[in-house]
C-alpha cells in the first residue's frame, strides 16, 4: 500500500502544479509531497528491513531493502531540492526571466522527474525499470534547457543525444537478458521480473550474458556518468537550474547505478565474478582518471562539482566491482552521503550564481568574507565531498578501500587513492581562490536569508550524523547489501 502512495502522491502533485498557474503555495505543496515520499520511504524501510519484500500491482512494483533505501535517498535529496526550487522560481519570476506558466511547467516536470525515479526504483520488472530511466532522461532534457540560453540549449541537445544512445544500448542489453532467460529451457513463464531472472541466473547462456552485461554497463554507465560516456554530465549539470542539477547529480546518477547493481547481481550468477568485476574496475578507474585530469584546470565551479560526481561514480563502480557485502553496504552509504553533500553544494552554487552573477571561479573573491553563510556552507560542503571526517563520505570511502583490498583489488584501490589525492589538491586550490582572502574594504557583509541556509545546514549536519552515528542505517545497509552482494 505504501508503495502505491509513494508513487501516486508526487504524480498527483505534478498534475496539480501543471494545471494551476504557479504560486508559492503550490511550491510548498510540492515540497510537502516529497516530504511524504521520504516518510513513506522510511516506513517502507522499517517494514522491509527484517520482513519479506512487499509487492504491489501483482509484482509490477516490488520493494526490498535496496529499493527502500533508494526511496529514502530520493526522498531526502528531493526534499532539499524542492525546498530550494520554491525560492529559485520566485527569484526567476521576480527577475522576469520566466513567467508563472513556465514556472508551473517547471514544478510539474520536477514532480514527474521524481515520480519516474521512484518508479525506476520500485519497479519489479527490469523492462519497466528501463522505461522509467528513459522517462527521466526525457523529462530532465526540458529541465536542463529550462533557462532557454544558448548554453542550456546546447547542453540539453548533448544530454538527450548521448543519453538516448546509451539508454538504447541498455535496452538492447535488457532484450538479450530476456532472450537468455527465454532459452533457459522452460519457455513458459519467463519474463523480465528481477526475482525470476535472479532465480534462473545460473542457467543463463554465458556468451549472450557477457554481451548483454557489457551493453548494460555501457548503457546504464552513460546515465551514471561513467568514463567513456560521461561527457554530457558537466554540460548538463552546469547549465541546468541549481535544484535540478542537485537532483540529477545527487540522485539520478545513483538511480541508474541502482539499475546497474541489479543487473550485476544477475551477471555474477551467470558469468561468475571475474568479467563483471573487470568491466566495472575498468570503467571506475577510467572515470577517476578522467575526473582527476579535468578537475585540475577547471574554471567553472558548477562544472567542478559535476566532475566531482564523475569521480564519486567511479568510486561507486570500484566498490561495486568488489561486490562483497561490506563493499555494497559502503557503496550504499556513499550514495546517500554523496547525494546529500552534492545536493547541498549544487544548491549553494545556485545561490552563489544568483548572488555573484557568474560561475567563473576566477571572478569570485573572498566569498567567506563577503557572504559568510554561503561561503561557510560551500566550504564545509567541499570538505564533506573530499572525504574528510566527520562526514559520512570518509567512512564509506575507507570501507570501500578495505573491501577492495580484501578482494585482491588493492592496486585499483591504490590508483583510486592517488586520483583522490590529485582531486583533493585541485579542489583545494579552486576552493581557496573562491573562499579565502579579504573582500574590498567598505563592502557590507551580505546576509543570506534563513529560509535558504536552514535546509542546507540541515543537509550537511545529516551527512555528518550519518558519518558518526551508526544506529539507524547500519541494519538497513546490511540488509540492502545482502540483496545484491555476492
Amino acid at each position: 500500500m505504501l508503495a502505491i502512495v509513494v508513487l501516486a502522491v508526487p504524480f498527483a502533485a505534478g498534475i496539480a502544479s501543471a494545471v494551476l498557474p504557479w504560486r508559492r503555495e503550490i511550491g510548498w505543496l510540492c515540497t510537502a509531497t516529497i516530504g511524504v515520499v521520504l516518510v513513506c520511504g522510511i516506513g517502507l524501510a522499517a517494514r522491509v528491513v527484517h520482513g519479506p519484500p512487499i509487492t504491489a500491482f501483482g509484482g509490477a512494483l516490488r520493494v526490498d531493502a535496496l529499493s527502500a533505501f533508494m526511496v529514502i535517498v530520493i526522498g531526502a535529496i528531493g526534499l532539499l531540492a524542492t525546498w530550494q526550487s520554491v525560492r529559485y522560481l520566485s527569484l526567476e519570476i521576480a527577475a522576469g526571466r520566466s513567467s508563472r506558466r513556465h514556472a508551473s511547467l517547471y514544478s510539474a516536470l520536477v514532480q514527474g522527474f521524481v515520480t519516474a525515479m521512484l518508479l525506476a526504483v520500485l519497479a519489479g520488472n527490469v523492462g519497466v525499470m528501463w522505461v522509467a530511466v528513459e522517462a527521466t532522461t526525457i523529462i530532465t532534457t526540458f529541465l536542463v534547457g529550462y533557462r532557454q540560453t544558448r548554453g542550456s540549449l546546447e547542453a540539453s541537445w548533448k544530454y538527450i543525444a548521448i543519453c538516448s544512445v546509451g539508454i538504447a544500448m541498455a535496452f538492447l542489453g535488457t532484450v538479450l537478458v530476456y532472450l537468455a532467460a527465454l532459452h533457459v529451457g522452460h519457455h513458459l513463464h519467463a519474463n523480465l521480473d528481477w526475482t525470476s531472472l535472479m532465480a534462473v541466473s545460473h542457467h543463463l547462456d554465458p556468451g549472450v550474458m557477457r554481451l548483454a552485461f557489457a551493453l548494460l554497463v555501457l548503457g546504464y554507465g552513460t546515465k551514471v556518468g561513467l568514463a567513456p560516456m560521461h561527457s554530457w554530465l558537466p554540460d548538463a549539470h552546469s547549465q541546468a537550474p541549481a535544484p535540478v542539477s542537485a537532483l540529477m547529480s545527487g540522485v539520478l546518477l545513483t538511480v541508474a547505478f541502482y539499475a546497474l547493481l541489479r543487473f550485476k547481481a544477475i551477471a555474477d550468477g551467470a558469468l561468475g565474478v571475474a568479467f563483471p568485476r573487470a568491466l566495472l574496475v575498468a570503467a571506475g578507474l577510467l572515470s577517476l582518471v578522467v575526473a582527476a585530469s579535468l578537475l585540475l584546470t577547471q574554471r567553472d565551479y558548477k562544472r567542478m562539482l559535476a566532475y566531482h560526481s564523475v569521480e564519486h561514480m567511479g568510486l561507486l563502480a570500484l566498490g561495486a566491482a568488489a561486490g562483497t557485502p561490506l563493499a555494497i553496504a559502503a557503496v550504499l552509504l556513499h550514495i546517500l552521503g554523496h547525494g546529500l553533500a552534492k545536493g547541498v553544494l549544487f544548491l549553494t552554487s545556485g545561490e552563489i550564481l544568483h548572488a555573484e552573477g557568474t560561475t567563473e571561479i576566477a571572478q569570485i573573491k573572498a566569498l567567506l568574507a563577503r557572504r559568510p553563510a554561503l561561503g561557510g556552507i560551500f566550504g564545509f560542503g567541499l570538505v564533506a565531498l573530499l572525504g574528510l571526517p566527520p562526514f559520512s563520505l570518509f567512512v564509506s570511502e575507507l570501507n570501500m578501500v578495505r573491501a577492495e583490498t580484501q578482494v585482491g583489488l588493492g592496486w585499483a584501490a591504490a590508483i583510486s587513492l592517488g586520483c583522490m589525492a590529485v582531486i583533493f589538491g585541485a579542489v583545494m586550490s579552486h576552493g581557496r581562490h573562491m573562499l579565502f582572502g579579504s573582500g574590498p574594504d567598505g563592502e557590507r557583509v551580505h546576509k543570506t536569508p534563513g529560509i535558504v541556509t536552514v535546509p542546507l545546514i540541515g543537509g550537511l549536519v545529516g551527512c555528518a550524523a550519518l558519518g558518526v552515528v551508526a544506529w539507524p542505517l547500519d541494519s538497513l545497509l546490511r540488509a540492502a547489501a545482502q540483496v545484491v552482494a555476492l
Binding site: 528513459e134 540549449l153 538492447l172 532484450v175 523480465l192
Partner: protein, 219 residues
Amino acid sequence: MSGSAYASSLELASGVVLVCAVVTLWRRSLSAIVKALAVQGVALGVVALILGVGKHDGVLIAVACLVIAAKGVVIPVLLGRVVAGDPASREAAPIVNVPASLVGAGALTFLAYGATGSVVALIPTTAGRLIPLGFATMLIGYFAMAVRRKAVSQIVGLLLVDNGIALVAFLATAGVPLLVELGASLDVLLAVVVLRVLAAQMWSKFGVLDLDEMRELHD
C-alpha cells in the same frame, strides 16, 4: 504461409532495414535520408507483421501496425517539416567523407556478425540468423550520429539505432512483453519529439543547425 516463403520474406524485410541504414550514410541530402528512414520503418513493421502472422500472436500484429504507423509515417513527416524549413538541406561537409563512412559501415557489419555469434548459436531458427542485421543497423546508426553534422541527421541516426534494436527484439524474442514494448516505443517517440523541438528552437533562436558550431560549453 509456407516455410520457405516465410523465411525469404523475413530475410528480404530485414535486408531492406539494413540497406536503408547504409543509404542514410550514403546520401547527403536530408530529404533523401528521411525518405530512407520511412522505408526502414515500414520494413521493420513488415518484419513484425510476418513474425506475428507466423506465430499467430495477435498482440504482435497490433504492435506491428503501431510500428508501421509511428516509424513509417508519423516520425518521417515530423522530420520532413524541419528539413523543409532549412534551405541548405544538404549534409555539406560531413566529418568523415562518404566513401570512408561506407567502409566503416562495412566494418561495423562484420563486427556485428562476429559479436552476435553466441546469440545466433542460441536460436537455431531463421529469425535467429538475421539478428546480426539488427545489430549492424544499430552500430551504423551510432556511427551516423557520430559523424554527421546536421541536427536532423543526428535524429535520423538515433532512429536507426532504435530501429536496429527493435529489429533484434522482434527477431530474438518475438517482441518483449507488451507493457515494456509500449513503454519503449512511447519513449522513442517522445525522444524524437523532444529532439525535434530542440532542433526547431536552435534553428529559430540561433539560426544554426550545424552541431559542430555548438561548442560553447567546453573545458
